[in-house]
Assembly symmetry: C2
Homo-oligomer: 231 residues x 2
């Protein structure tokens, strides 16, 4: 059964957005009386009946609901966006699929992009959440400064940068059931000054493995490692 998204369902908004309604009615050919699954992206899964499809809007009635527990860990990745917005979008999609709680887009000295289309990135995350049958939508924020991100508190804070080949592996440093913040630099890497500020603020330099990874691949690899260690 396909999964739909309505963030305000728990506030009593018993209908799908225009886009979601269109998908339900035109693409999936849903009709009045059909049962569909809807999530609010906040951990609740609703089983709903479609009560009307007139005016291009799917109206809903909740048949049952299930509340899922928040995971014990919290993965927060702050990534300096790549020049190509496709690669940024791809990172958002894959990180959401693998499971991530928060994505920040980071403004750095060597950033090739200092604007981000948050609406588009959120759409990508919604689509990936639905596709992978999840009930939690990651929070997406941008752009944030190094100063702001260095002041963010988490149980474990790491910085991954290309110049650092001798750092310990994230796989071995990250502990289970913690909150994490990992900084991923731009293609041109963090500046020496940024690396110094981060380490002075208590961020631990880590390596993701033997190979040099592109920014977006480093982001996905980080997210994957932090999910793997929860098992």
């Amino acid at each position: 059964m396909n999964l739909f998204y309505q963030p305000k369902l728990s506030e009593g908004l018993l209908l799908l957005s225009e886009d979601e309604s269109l998908h339900a009615i035109k693409v999936l050919r849903h009709q009045t009386g059909d049962s569909i699954k809807v999530t609010d992206g906040q951990g609740t899964l609703y089983l709903c009946a479609i009560t009307s499809t007139s005016g291009k809007v799917c109206k809903l009635e909740v048949s049952s609901q299930e509340k899922f527990n928040k995971p014990n860990h919290f993965i927060h990745i702050a990534l300096s966006p790549t020049k190509s917005s496709d690669r940024v979008e791809w990172f958002v999609e894959k990180a959401t699929e693998l499971g991530i709680q928060k994505i920040s887009f980071l403004n750095t000295q060597h950033s090739e992009r200092n604007k981000i289309n948050i609406e588009r990135m959120t759409k990508t995350a919604v689509s990936a959440m639905k596709q992978s049958g999840q009930v939690w939508l990651p929070e997406i924020e941008g752009m944030v400064s190094m100063k702001e991100i260095l002041a963010t508190k988490r149980d474990q804070r790491f910085i991954a940068y290309a110049g650092e080949r001798e750092s310990p592996l994230l796989l071995h440093q990250a502990k289970k059931d913690k909150s994490y913040l990992v900084l991923i630099g731009p293609e041109g890497d963090f500046s020496a000054e940024e690396i110094q500020s981060a380490t002075q603020s208590g961020f631990q330099p880590i390596s993701l493995g033997a190979n040099i990874l592109r920014t977006e691949t480093a982001g996905v690899a980080t997210c994957h490692i932090l999910n793997l260690i929860q098992h």
Copy 2:
């Protein structure tokens, strides 16, 4: 320093292809006398001097060479290609970046695509190899039948399929320094018959984690896990 690719350098072909020459001369503005790095994709890294750039071709002279050892492990992923060739290409790019020895494209009962542009996929792999500074180009083959792939010998052979939620994790089953073959099904999953044939042939069902992953994400996650356990 940028890395170039010439598979026949070790056979004495002391020039770059037209594409690579164009990139070297027009984009990177290399001139006669410049030093560049070239790999044959077979483990050798050459330091070369450009001896001529006339006729749109970079002619080379080898200054020194370094032969790298083959890794102790061998990662072979056979993946049923997705409908979108972008997603297949993305898998090839990311798997190459992370490190993979062989990619096969698998024909399955529910495959949405039974043709693959091997030339294009190889170009993607070459580009990812160069980008990530590697000297090994993965072998890419397609399309292969289930029969052929099930007859392929490796130390550890696994099958990942969406229906299987109770299987042990690949992360815990795969052992270091082995040769691996992992089958990744299409969006519509392997058929019951295919799963049965695979398990009867000794393929072990494994899970990649808690979430349902798209085919191409499952491929990249598999490749990442098999690289991580080598540390």
